[in-house]
Every structure is written in C-alpha cells, then in structure tokens.
C-alpha cells in the first residue's frame, strides 16, 4: 500500500488528467531543457521585479487616493501640518507616515520600478549584442521593445501619482509635449487633462492607466513573450557539443525550477533591503505641487533622464508659418528623436537580415566580437543615450564639478554628434583586435610567462596550447561572405532593381568583409605543437 500522501496526490493528478489530458503536455514540458548562463538571468530579474511591482503596487492602492481635490493636511508629518494640498499628495504622505510598513512598500515599489527598467535594458543589450533577436525570434524582440516603451510610460505615470512638486513639474512638461504636437496638440492636451493644465482630472485618469490598463497590457505581452521562449526554446552560447540543432542545459525540474524560484526570492529580498535602507523619492521634502514653485535640481527617474537631457540641449527653434506655430525645440527632442530611436530598435532584426542577406534560423548566439558592425552600432546607440542622460543631470554635474551649465551644455551638444561615431569606430577596432587575439590564441596557445633557453642560447617563452574545447569555442562561428553585386548581363543591361541591390551589396561588404579569418584545422595542424 502506498503512503496516504502519494495516494491523494495520485487521485488529484488522475482527476485533472482525465478532464484535461494535462499529463501529456506536462511530461513534455518538464523535460524542457534550459541552458544556464548568468546573462540569461537578466530577463528573469525583469520578470521578478514586475511581480514585485504588482504586489507592492496593489498594497499602495489600498490607501492611495487618486484625486486632485484640495484639502488641508492633518496627518502626522509635522512640517506640512495645515498646508493646502491635493488628496493624492496627502494620502501618499499618509502611506509614508501613518501606515505601518507603508513607507517600506512605497520604497520597495519605487526601487522595483528602477530595477524593472534597468533589468529590461540590460536584458535587451544581452539579446542585441549576442544576436539572439535573429530569426526565428524577431517577434519576441518586438514584444521586448514594446515592453520597454510601456515600462517607461508606466514608470513616468507612477511617479506622477503622488502629486508632489517634482512630479507635478513632470506632468507640466508632459502636457507641454502633448500640446506641441502640430494640428491636434491643443486638442489632445485638453482631452487628456479635461481642459487646461492642471485641472482636476489628470491624476484620477492616469491612476486607472497606471494600475489597470498598462499593467494588464504588459502582463499579456509578458505572457506571450515567455510562451514564445518556451516554444522556440532558449538560445545558447557556442561551445563544444552545442549546435544549431540542440539545446544543452538543465531540465526544468528540479534544478531550473529551484534556481529560478530561489532567484525570485533573492530579487525580492534585495529590493526589500533597498526599500529598508535607501530612501527614494522623499516626496515630503518637495512639498505639494503648485504651478508657481519649483524645486531646484529637479530630476526625473533615470529612464526618463535621457529624454530630459535631449530637451535641455535642443536648439531654441520655433517656426511660425501661415499663422501656425511649430515648436521644434520640443518636437525634435521630445518626439522625433525618440521616435526614430525606438522605431530603429524595433526594426533592427529586419534591417540586419536585409543587410547581411542572412535569412536562416539561428539558435547559437554570437560572441559580440565576431559581429563587429552590430556591436559597434550598439555601442554607438548606448553612447548617444549616455551623453543625453549626462546632459539631463547637467545642473547636478555643474554644482558637483564646479562647471557652468553653459560649458556642459555645449560639451554635450558637440559630444552627441561626435562621440557616437567615435564609439562606433573604436568598438569596431576593439572587436577586430579581439578576433585577432582569438586567432593567435588558437594557433599559438596561451603565453605562460615561462622562458626556456634553446641550445643555441636564444630564449623563448613557452606557449601552452588551448584545450580542444576552448579552441573550438573560439572558432565555431561562421564568417559569412558579403552579398555579391548583381552582375550586368552580357548585353550590358542592368537587372531590375540594381541600384537597391548595389547599395545592399555595398552595405553587406562593409559589414562582413572586415573580419579576421578564423584559423582552420589545416593551419592549426601545420603549426603543430603550439611552441615555436
């Protein structure tokens, strides 16, 4: 007779399976294999911080009052007693000072939001630099871009909710961007705000968007994102025994499950620790929002900071044609540049496939050095964003390093054009140098620092040969040939669409030609033992 526990489990399983046929699916799923690498945890961190946001955010909703009605504060934070403020601000003060654990939860929620976006960005960089977005995973890349975009909006709406002086200033700026849209801007702003700025409707409205609409959409997108990972199976880094046709890793049960579940708790623990000891967004210091005041050194959260930096460095251009005003100083940094950046990001997998002519499925990841152009483009985009972010904090930098705003502004205005191309060139050089280093390592082995004297008195350093596994890892990548230019046929007639093909051939040459030829088996054999 089986023990009672097993019998009960057995009959529950039987009940479920007879009604759903779940056993067949589960048997297959539990055998799923997950490759292990630290960089695969970045997406997990994003997922876990989203879960933390759902939990801590729900806690906040029990006390937060989404209303801009004015009242007199009577809570226990003495410096603001008797001050006129909105119900939203007052209730956020209550959460902070009169609800036990409320301050902790607010801080956990805000730290988790920063972590959520940081993890998404890091995850996206991992996917980008290793080429994990290539066929068949382009859809998941686009879902990822959508999630980051929604995450930025969600975070912005979140820190607008407390209606303190800082967040009110952020809303003012958002309203100005909306209002600057040609043709429909004024209407869009009036509809969003229920009239003029600030009105009484905006916070109740973004509250619904923040706690229901966007989290709901994101939850849906995350679900599809994970289902696709599941279905398409995870990519893996190249190495011995790993091919395009297999997955090497740990089965879901028990190792992967235990590690992933444990990791959720670790991430939650770390955010709780930050929430306990590291103050964030101390809204009681800023005071309630009023349009006539501003706290010096106003800073948005970092994921908005780059936008603010672009706005700050924009040239003061506004045009007036046919009685209509267009604010280029707002449109370019606030909508056009970010629009181009995010569209380019979303389309990148297709741009790259077009330019290299590579339309095959890829399950093995690239080592970033082996795709110098892609790596360099990534470095260029990151440099651009960092320069913008630095200018977003120009007032703080100015006071810390005793520079003038003027100096920083001009430095970043110039840098934003000069540094990204420079980053491109340097990164490409570095990649090629690393390829060369790989080639040397494979052919000549590793320097050991030990010298020996040859019979005729010459000193040479002993080189230790790489293990076959290491050598394989460094050489298993493909080196594609550029797309050939379509030839002009015998009669001198150009085939149709030749200009487009030419451009493409030219681009693909730029991308693919500059490679350090990887060592072949023959070369390695000829060199023999490795010392020479």
């Amino acid at each position: 007779m089986k023990p009672a526990r097993e019998r009960i489990a057995g009959s529950v399983a039987n009940f479920v399976d007879e009604r759903t046929g779940a056993a067949k699916f589960l048997k297959k799923s539990l055998n799923k294999v997950f490759p292990d690498h630290w960089s695969f945890m970045l997406g997990e961190i994003a997922l876990y911080s989203f879960i933390i946001l759902l939990l801590s955010g729900t806690f906040l909703t029990f006390w937060y009052v989404p209303s801009q009605e004015e009242l007199i504060y009577e809570g226990s934070y003495v410096p603001l007693k008797g001050v006129k403020m909105s119900a939203a601000y007052s209730s956020t003060l209550d959460i902070s000072f009169d609800v036990r654990g409320g301050m902790l939860m607010r801080q956990i929620h805000h730290w988790a939001a920063l972590l959520f976006l940081a993890a998404m960005v890091a995850h996206m960089m991992r996917v980008f630099f290793t080429g994990a977005f290539r066929k068949p995973r382009e859809m998941n890349w686009i879902l990822g871009v959508a999630l980051i975009t929604l995450g930025i909006v969600e975070g912005f709406l979140g820190y607008s909710l407390p209606d303190d002086l800082l967040s009110g200033t952020g809303i003012r700026i958002a309203q100005a961007i909306l209002q600057a849209i040609p043709l429909i801007g004024t209407y869009a702003a009036f509809f969003a705000f229920g009239g003029e700025f600030p009105g009484l409707d905006f916070i109740p409205r973004i509250y619904t968007v923040h706690v229901l609409l966007l989290p709901g959409i994101m939850l849906g997108l995350i679900t599809v994102h994970l289902m696709l990972v599941w279905y398409q199976k995870h990519t893996q880094y190249p190495g011995p025994g790993r091919t395009e046709k297999n997955v090497v890793g740990y089965p879901l049960l028990p190792v992967y499950m235990a590690k992933a579940g444990g990791f959720l708790f670790i991430v939650f623990g770390v955010t709780a620790f930050l929430g306990a000891v590291a103050s964030i967004n101390p809204i009681w210091v800023f005071g309630p929002y009023t349009p006539t005041q501003i706290s010096a050194g106003s800073q948005p959260d970092w994921y908005m900071g780059w936008l603010d930096g672009l706005v700050r460095m924009a040239p003061p251009i506004e045009t007036y044609f046919f009685g209509k005003t267009i604010s280029w100083n707002i449109l370019i940094p606030g909508l056009i540049v970010p629009g181009i950046m995010f569209t380019g990001l979303a389309l990148w997998p297709f741009i790259e496939a077009w330019a290299t002519g590579d339309k095959r499925e890829h399950n093995l990841l690239d080592r970033p050095r082996n795709t110098p152009t892609r790596t360099a483009v990534g470095a260029m985009a990151i440099t651009f964003t960092i320069v913008a972010l630095i200018n977003g904090g120009n007032d703080i930098i100015a006071t810390h390093f005793s520079l003038t705003i003027n100096q920083i502004m001009w430095a970043t205005r110039i840098s934003i054009f000069v540094l990204p191309p420079l980053a491109y060139v340097i990164t490409k050089r570095i990649c090629l140098a690393l390829q060369r280093a790989d080639r040397d390592l494979v052919l000549h082995g590793r320097e050991t620092g030990r010298l020996v004297m040859l019979p005729h008195g010459e000193f040479v350093e002993i080189h230790e040969e790489l293990s076959p596994q290491e050598a394989f890892t460094r050489t298993s990548h493909e080196q594609l040939a550029p797309i050939p230019v379509a030839a002009i046929d015998a009669n001198g007639v150009r085939p149709k669409g030749v200009l487009k093909d030419r451009i493409r051939a030219r681009i693909s040459k730029g991308i693919l030609q500059e490679q350090i030829a990887k060592p072949t088996a023959k070369e390695k054999l000829e060199l023999g033992g490795g010392h020479h």
Partner: protein, 331 residues
C-alpha cells in the same frame, strides 16, 4: 572571402561531467543539507524580526545609524526583517539546487520552426476550401457591406472619448489680467506699491480676486507674474515696451515660454531669470530675451501702472498667450 572550402576545427563534443563532492561523499552531502537548513532558518528569523517590529516598535522612534543617518526605526526593522525573510529563502533554494540536486547537463533536440511542406499545403487547401464554401469571393455585396460596417463601428469608441475634455476655444489666450486688476503678493495676497520693491528686488505676484482662498490652480498656472525692479536707465526696450514698465518695475509671466515650468530663479547681479527645468535663461533689461537654453521666445511682458491710490495694477491684458507654445498660438 568564403571559408566554405576551408575545414574548421572539429567539435570535441560536450566535456565530461565533473562530479561535485556531495555527489559521492555522504558526509559532504549531509553538510550541504545542514547549510541549506540554516539558510531557511535565517529566513524564519527575519519573519520574527518583522512581526516584532510591526507590533512593538513605536511609530515615532528615530535612531541614528552611521552612513544612513537618522532612520525611522519601525520602518527600518520592518524592512530588514522582510528582506532577510525573503532573501534567505532564495539563498537556501539556490544552494540546495547547486549542491544537492542533479547537475547533469542534458541535450535536447531542436526542430525548425517552419512547418513541413505537407502541413503547409494542407493548411492552404483547408483555408481555400472553407473560404470558398463561405463564398465571399462571389458574394461581393456581403463583402463590401461588411467592410463598410466594420469600418464605421470603429468610430463609435473614438466618438465616446469626445467628452474627455472641452474644446480649447480661446482659453489659452486668456488670463485673469485686465486693465485695473491689482497685483497682489503670492503668498499673502497684499496689494503692492512701487515703494515696496527696492531696486534689485523681485516679487512673486498674482492678480487680486475676490476669494483668494479658492484660487484655482488652472488660473495660477496662467496668471503668475514676476515683478522685478532695476534702474530705469538700464532698460533696453523700445518705447512701447518701456511704457509698459513703471519706474524701473517690469512684470513678466512666471510661466516658462518653453514648457511651462515656474521661472523661479532671479540672479540679481546679472539680471537674468533662470528656469530650472531646462535652464532657459532670460535677460531682464532687454525684455526677457532668451540668452541661453531651449526656449525660443521671451517671457510675455504685462503692461503695468499705478492706480489713483498708488497701488500697482495691470494696464492691459497680456498681448499674447502665456506658457508653452501650441499650434494655434499667435506670434
């Protein structure tokens, strides 16, 4: 250069599995088990600390901690307890997985995402057959009327959003300021005489209204003024703009012409107004011309004068819309 004909290095295959100590040494395995248990117990202690802090630490105790400074004791220990409780469950689980659970790597096969040609063909055939059975191709009346109604039905939800807000109308061009409206201090709501403002001083001003206790933020967001006094001879303005000042006192909209932040900083020595949001800098003597930063327009100037009793009043409404630009804005 193509490397196709050049043979690459051979795949040596998956490296041999390296066993951990606990896999074959019973004592090591027992030790690992104890370690995992200790981690889980630490988590339990964290929860005890959490419960203790929630019930027994008063809400008004602050303690000094080096580096962190003064900390609210209850929230600090609640947080630390919570963090310990969560973190060590995770640490225990991961340690367990690493030391005791099977760590053999396994290989699974992948299959191309593309369906087989037969499946594809079969799908196309089915779709064709079913679509054919519906007969849309022949019944073009149905097809067209369906497209029409589907297109129209999308309008309803958009129309429903219409009542989100009023139409802009002319309100963006209007403020409370009109001829004879008194300038009053913000805060305080006291009327101002020119003598109240020394040369070099700046005052924050709103229009006088009947019930200043219930001034709406909407009107504040358009009405707020900065009043600055310099020596009259320092102005470099045309005759009309100069006539809008009074004995060296000049009034500007405090709402930034860039994106509407409060232009709150006045530098007396340089006579510059600075908006902290994106550092647009306005030069007072030349009528708030932009000398730095992203703003493309000067701050609108309000014409002022004094009334019979010697109080400052507006001489006319603003001659343009205040605050950030918009499509319909007059130059």
């Amino acid at each position: 250069m193509s490397n196709k004909e050049l043979e690459p290095l051979q795949d040596p295959g998956l490296p041999a599995h390296a066993h951990r100590k606990a896999d074959h040494d019973e004592a090591a395995a027992n030790r690992a088990e104890r370690q995992v248990a200790i981690l889980f117990l630490l988590s339990a202690l964290g929860t005890v600390l959490f419960i203790y802090s929630y019930i027994f630490i008063e809400n008004n105790i602050y303690i000094y901690i080096p580096i962190l400074g003064n900390q609210h004791a209850q929230q600090l220990f609640l947080g630390l307890g919570f963090a310990i409780a969560l973190f060590f469950i995770g640490a225990g689980a991961v340690h367990w997985a690493k030391t005791l659970m099977s760590d053999t790597e396994v290989i699974a096969e992948r299959h191309e995402m593309r369906s087989s040609d037969e499946d594809r063909a079969a799908l196309i055939a089915t779709v064709k057959e079913e679509v054919g059975a519906v007969g849309l191709g022949r019944r073009s009346l149905i097809k067209r009327s369906l497209a029409l109604s589907l297109g129209l039905v999308g309008i309803s939800p958009l129309l429903l959003l219409r009542d989100l807000g009023p139409l802009p109308g002319d309100v963006l061009n209007q403020t409370t300021w009109a001829e004879g409206v008194h300038l009053v201090t913000d805060p305080g709501n006291r009327r101002l005489r020119p003598e109240d403002l020394e040369v070099g001083a700046v005052a924050h001003v709103l229009p006088e209204i009947e019930d200043p206790e219930h001034r709406s933020l909407n009107s504040i967001a358009k009405d707020a003024l900065l009043l600055i006094r310099i020596r009259p001879e320092e102005f470099r303005l045309d005759a009309e703009r100069l006539s809008w000042t009074y004995q060296g006192i000049i009034a500007f909209s405090k709402i930034c012409s860039h994106m509407g932040c409060a232009v709150a900083l006045y530098e007396q020595t340089t006579k510059h107004l600075l908006c902290p949001c994106h550092q647009s800098t306005f030069d007072v003597p030349t009528g708030a011309k932009v000398i730095f930063g992203p703003s493309a327009r000067p701050l609108p100037q309000l014409a002022i004068k004094v009334d019979d009793a010697g109080y400052l009043v507006a001489a006319a409404p603003f001659n343009q819309a205040v605050g950030p630009s918009f499509w319909e804005r007059k130059k």
